[in-house]
């Protein structure tokens, strides 16, 4: 049981939107497609739904070619970024609409709509029109409509991106609960690493129309195969510091050097790029082997519980993420610390050489 994409390609006006996509999705699996805007996530989802036809390649369901099958004959449900509901239908009728088409028994429709409404906390709003709902409730209605039918394939295209962050928090948690109960293949696209990690399951990382890594979500997070994957799968984007290994020393810019230790011991003399996730920089020294970097502050951003300090380290821009609130003056010189055991090491060509264990 499952859905397979074989050598899928999509060209629009000579421009390649998707390049040679080969993917397998198992029934009951939760899958995240992670990528920046315009990386091809939505194009891929539309191909899977059958809304677009691929230029080349096939879509196989349980070994059967369904590439040309019309959307209406497929068992697929989709949730979009925009809150799409029938404006003249009540919430109840909106949720019931996919069932009514299939000529289901009235009692059964009622039962299913109530169940979906309950899952998404819409019970008290079933008689309202979409225009009388808040944005969050409108998207809940759209999601309820997508899950009410038990489609084999449930596609969600950045469903929470247009909600403000408090609503997003709530729905992220609720969606996980809902997905757990599904037997269908769930495919969820997002630009946010944290959202991808929360959803767990398997991940497909995309960049410029290509799949650049697949695997279990935490596994990919801890072993991003290329610098590109690491950038896409870190928020703020992972920081890179160029270095040079010579003998048993690692030399960084600004005259900083430290001995090879931890997982770095196996490195041979060469140029490398060290990848450091922002949360592994600290404003205080925490351990003996911590490397000290002198940086110049460009901006301190605060998101409520954390501070993001954008800074310059000998010509390379880095972002430091610290828990708590720190106001830093623009242009001031500060010291930040990082433990070498945190370094992802990439070759000059951007391939992962070694990851922290």
């Amino acid at each position: 049981m499952g859905l397979s994409l074989k050598n899928m390609q999509k060209k629009v006006d000579g421009e390649e939107h998707l390049i040679d996509i080969n993917l397998d999705f198992e029934s009951g699996s939760r899958n995240v497609i992670l990528g920046r805007t315009l990386s091809g996530k939505t194009s891929l989802l539309r191909l899977m739904a059958g809304l677009d036809k691929p230029t080349k390649g096939q879509l196989m369901l349980d070994g059967k070619d369904i590439t040309g099958m019309s959307v209406r004959k497929r068992s697929v449900a989709m949730v979009y970024q925009q809150f799409i509901n029938y404006p003249s239908f009540t919430v109840y009728d909106n949720i019931a609409s996919p069932l009514k088409v299939s000529k289901m028994d009235k009692k059964e429709i009622e039962r299913r709509v109530q169940e979906a409404a309950q899952m998404l906390h819409l019970e008290s709003m079933l008689n309202r029109l979409p225009s009388e709902l808040s944005g969050g409730q409108q998207q809940r209605t759209a999601i309820a409509r997508a899950i009410v039918r038990d489609a084999d394939l449930l596609l969600l295209d950045e469903p929470l991106v247009n909600l403000d962050y408090k609503l997003r928090e709530e729905l992220q948690i609720e969606l996980q609960e809902i997905f757990k109960k599904r037997k269908s293949i769930v495919v969820y696209t997002t630009t946010e690493p944290a959202e991808a990690l929360m959803l767990g399951g398997n991940i497909v990382v995309m960049d410029q129309g290509k799949v650049i890594q697949t695997g279990s979500t935490p596994e990919v997070y801890h072993h991003p195969a290329t610098t590109k994957v690491a950038e896409v799968f870190s928020d703020p984007p992972i920081n890179y510091i160029s270095c040079h290994v010579k003998g048993d020393q690692v030399l960084l810019g600004g005259g900083v050097n430290f001995p090879l230790n931890y997982h770095l011991k196996s490195l041979t003399d060469d140029h490398y790029k060290l990848g450091v996730r922002s949360n592994h920089f600290y404003l205080k020294k925490r351990g003996e082997n911590d490397v000290r970097l002198a940086v110049k502050v460009e901006l301190a951003e605060i998101n409520g519980s954390e501070t993001f300090i954008h800074a310059d380290f000998s010509g390379e821009r880095i972002v430091i993420q610290e828990v708590g609130i720190y106001s830093k003056k623009i242009g001031s010189e500060i010291e930040v610390y990082v433990n070498p055991s945190r370094f992802f090491v990439y070759s000059d060509t951007g391939k992962l050489v070694i990851a922290p264990s």
Binding site: A194, D235, E301, G304, S327
Partner: protein, 377 residues
């Protein structure tokens, strides 16, 4: 530049407001410092746009006066108030070049062309718009356009304040921080009074020296980002600032012990299932509690809640509901006496993975008590 005095301001969109609930803006009495960067933060419908319109002069408040540097401007229209405004989407004169856009407010005020040119070039330099000066404004990217809107405010040396109405809505996420950076820089350079309306906590907290949190037509707290985070004066601030928001537990204080009520209102201390659900407090907190009236609630930030795999002194046992990996950190959701609590764990914290129960410790320094939604202090 000016100090802004909001003198007992209230506003209702209804002609003859009777009850408190008829007011979109309930009594606001505040003085905002000259040269300060203020952010008005709150969910939609909290009254922040109403307040902005009163400051800009689009609305005359039903009650109260508004003074700029002591001068009553309550009845004055926007153009007589020497304010500048940047809107949600870029407002430009499409047919003009960037230079002419920036020069427009000065030319309208009859400045001679030499001084116009000098000032425009100066401001264009600050905003990195110099290379675009000859281009038509309409052809530029959204962030450049928004900078032009801002520039039209900055060219005037007489502006009392610059108002921003969710100015980054249309800006691509990865350019947002660059623009915020620019705004901060300009604030430090020019020492202008800036007022920034947003529903986004990141924007508010990065931009402002003082964040004005609004909720239900009231200002519930004005404070630095740190004050809002550590000492939210209202439950709403606790919930709205921080991700996830503050945890709240209804409780009664018995001596130096906060006794948690379960979800049905039963005192957990006498409950056979979960014994010893008291959270130790210090003298200061219990004294506050003894003076307070109404239902008490204990609040603690997920960041400060300590989680242990085994019982430690003064900890409470809670059931694990889920553990979410956010990459940089983990969020534990646990159930204590029927209440959902969230705790933020470090990425490396692996001790409780797979555990069914955890012990929660409430560090005394980070416990806050609330009564009638307000912080006790």
């Amino acid at each position: 530049m000016a100090q802004i005095n909001l003198n007992k301001i209230a506003h209702s969109y209804i002609k003859n407001p009777k009850s408190d609930s008829d007011y979109a803006l309930k009594l606001i009495d505040n003085i905002w410092d000259d040269g300060g960067a203020y952010a008005l933060l709150g969910p939609s419908g909290c009254g922040k746009t109403t307040l902005l319109n009163i400051i800009s002069g689009l609305l005359v408040p039903s009650k109260g006066r508004i003074l700029f540097d002591g001068k009553d401007v309550t009845e004055l229209p926007p153009e007589k108030r020497n304010i500048a405004q940047v809107f949600q989407f870029p407002v430009l004169y499409d047919t003009m070049s960037v230079f002419d856009n920036l020069a427009f407010p000065l030319r309208n005020r009859g400045f001679d062309e030499d001084s116009v040119k000098k000032r425009v070039l100066e401001i264009a330099e600050v905003l990195d718009l110099t290379p675009f000066l000859d281009k038509k404004a309409a052809g530029l990217a959204a962030d450049a356009k928004q900078k032009i809107s801002l520039g039209r405010g900055l060219v005037r040396s007489d502006v009392a304040a610059i108002l921003f109405d969710e100015p980054l809505t249309v800006i691509d996420p990865n350019l947002k921080w660059q623009l915020r950076c620019k705004l901060k820089e300009i604030h430090e350079q020019l020492k202008l009074t800036l007022i920034y309306v947003t529903h986004d906590q990141v924007e508010a907290l990065t931009f402002a020296d003082k964040v004005v949190v609004m909720y239900g037509g009231e200002i519930v707290q004005i404070g630095t980002p740190q004050e809002l985070f550590e000492n939210p004066s209202h439950k709403f601030v606790g919930y709205f600032i921080g991700s996830p928001g503050m945890n709240f537990l209804p409780c009664k204080v018995d001596g130096n012990m906060a006794v948690i009520q379960d979800i049905n209102g039963v005192m957990m201390k006498n409950n056979a299932i979960a014994q010893n659900v008291g959270i130790p407090l210090n003298d200061y907190l219990s004294k506050l509690a003894s003076k307070a009236s109404g239902h008490l609630e204990l609040g603690i930030r997920p960041l400060y809640l300590r989680v242990h795999a085994n019982e430690v002194n003064g900890s409470l046992k809670a059931k694990v509901k889920s553990l979410q990996d956010h990459g940089n950190f983990k969020i534990l959701t646990a159930i204590l006496a029927g209440h959902t609590l969230r705790a933020r764990l470090d990425e490396e914290d692996k001790a409780i993975i797979g555990a069914e129960d955890v012990w929660l410790e409430f560090p005394i320094d980070w416990i806050r008590l609330f009564s009638k939604e307000r912080l006790l202090k």
